[in-house]
């Protein structure tokens, strides 16, 4: 089924001011606002409690996971438009910048500890530099870079540079 270029959108907000704000966003996207009962293509909400949602829903600034689309509170009209189209097509939308970190403990000591040089080598590796380029950047010989990369592969139990970067960068930094 093709998605029409102008969608029929219902707006469900928790108060009049939010209702206006969301309706303005829908207008900026060039979509048509309809009543929830008029079988909309998608719903835009601020997370206001609704017993039943008549169509796939994009929630702005909500944290509950029961919506097809979740956007940050300051989402721009272009993002809202893309999200409404995606959920109308049956997809799930999550914004990558959304803070997903929950209240958590400080990380324990990692099972694998890297040396300062190994950590240093990871950055140019992540930027796609060759051993020679990394060596020049760090002021060490390409042979030494190779030595540290082999040690990283062994410690992290990985077989590729990309994997080493993904695992190595995962080591957590704390701020105090």
């Amino acid at each position: 089924m093709a998605i029409p270029s102008v969608l029929r959108i219902a707006v469900l907000a928790s108060n009049a001011a939010e209702q206006d704000r969301l309706a303005t966003l829908v207008g900026q996207c060039g979509h048509q606002i309809v009543e929830p009962a008029a079988s909309p293509d998608a719903v835009l909400t601020d997370g206001a409690a609704a017993a039943t949602l008549p169509a796939p829903t994009v929630a702005i600034g909500a944290v509950d996971g029961a919506f097809a689309g979740l956007l940050p509170p300051d989402a721009a009209a272009t993002a809202v438009d893309a999200a409404l189209r995606a959920v109308a097509a049956g997809l799930i939308v999550r914004a990558p910048t959304q803070p997903v970190r929950s209240f958590e403990w400080l990380p324990d000591e990692p099972p694998v500890l890297l040396t300062p040089r190994e950590i240093e080598v990871l950055t140019p590796l992540g930027n796609g530099l060759t051993n020679k380029q990394a060596a020049r950047l760090l002021g060490i010989s390409p042979h030494t870079v190779k030595f540290h990369i082999e040690s990283l592969f062994r410690k992290l139990g990985v077989a590729s540079r990309a994997e080493a970067v993904a695992r190595g960068m995962h080591q957590q930094i704390v701020e105090f």
Binding site: S14, N15, A17, E18, D46, G47, A48, A49, A62, V63, D64, R101, S102, F103, E104, W105, L106, P107, D108, E109, P110, L113, L114, T115, P116, R117, I119, Q171, Q172, I173, V174, E175, F176
Partner: protein, 300 residues
């Protein structure tokens, strides 16, 4: 069967409903204009506590008790360190103190939240109980109590009772959907500063650190094989004033070895603020001692 025979299921059920009755005066709904409903606990007369994470940046709220009575409330203070936000209201009843027994893994627990016109209840067991721990935001939490109870964002922050009807603390959504309890003693400890100052000050150095293996060549100088490498130094921070640099490896604080973030956090409790700390570092393969004056951590 004669009616006089005791049915243990009905007894259990009635005992649980009775605990819910004990919790009822404590459970509050918190309505923040423009935001979804959330839950909290009436901690003492005119003081409500709730979960701080994702609490909107709005001072005014409406607190609704399970009996339908509503009060205007305002945020008195927030502590991301222990995930407690305190609200003041005027004229609330004084809830009965419910002191909890020591939590044990496997013991029954009930988590409560606010629901339209009343309370919601969830039953499960205490999944595990660990020693004191530090949150990423630096707060010390007296016990690591995890529940095998699922709690929604709406119910988070409501009271958790033990089988005897004692108040274990307030529920908190932890990593990967796990549910933690912020123990009553931890809530008590932060409540006074939250109400009088609006915040809980904790120590701050201005460092981003990562655990590292001390290079072989300097392990004997360092006296240990592990340390915390400085990745960044914040501008105008105590660490910057003490001329610490990225690349320095922190090995001891006040003579005690620090090899994990939690060990560091123990030196930066609220009473550390303004006091000097002796740091021992490895810089360019040489040991170095530096004194820093601990600053105040800002909520991030």
């Amino acid at each position: 069967m004669p009616d006089t025979a005791k049915n243990p299921l009905i007894e259990l059920s009635e005992a649980l409903a009775e605990r819910a009755g004990l919790a009822r005066p404590l459970v509050v709904g918190i309505a923040v204009p423009g935001h979804r409903m959330r839950s909290g606990a009436l901690w003492r007369k005119d003081v409500v506590v709730a979960s701080e994470q994702r609490y909107p940046d709005v001072s005014d709220a409406r607190v609704i008790l399970a009996d339908g009575n509503a009060f205007t409330a305002r945020v008195a203070g927030r502590d991301p360190g222990t995930n407690v936000v305190a609200l003041r209201l005027d004229g609330s009843p004084d809830p009965l103190p419910l002191s909890a027994s020591e939590p044990r893994p496997g013991a029954l627990a009930l988590a409560f939240g606010a629901d339209e016109g009343g309370i919601s209840a969830r039953l499960g067991v205490v999944h595990s109980v660990g020693p004191a721990w530090h949150s990423r935001a630096g707060g010390r939490i007296d016990r690591r109590i995890m529940l095998d109870i699922a709690v929604t964002p709406r119910e988070e922050g409501g009271p958790v009772l033990d089988a005897g009807g004692g108040l274990l603390g307030i529920s908190t959504l932890g990593p990967r959907g796990r549910v933690l309890v912020i123990p009553a003693s931890t809530v008590e400890a932060v409540l006074e500063p939250l109400i009088s100052k609006g915040r809980v000050d904790r120590g701050w150095l201005g460092l981003a650190l990562q655990p590292v293996l001390v290079p072989d060549a300097v392990q004997s100088e360092a006296g240990q094989s592990r340390g915390l490498m400085i990745m960044r130094v914040a501008k105008d921070s105590p660490a910057a004033r003490a001329k610490l640099h990225a690349g320095d490896i922190l090995v001891t604080i006040a003579g005690e070895s620090v090899t994990s973030a939690a060990m560091l956090a123990r030196h930066l409790e609220p009473d550390s603020v303004g006091k000097p700390l002796e740091l021992r570092l490895i810089r360019a393969d040489k040991p170095l001692s530096v004194q820093v004056t601990v600053g105040v951590r800002q909520a991030s």
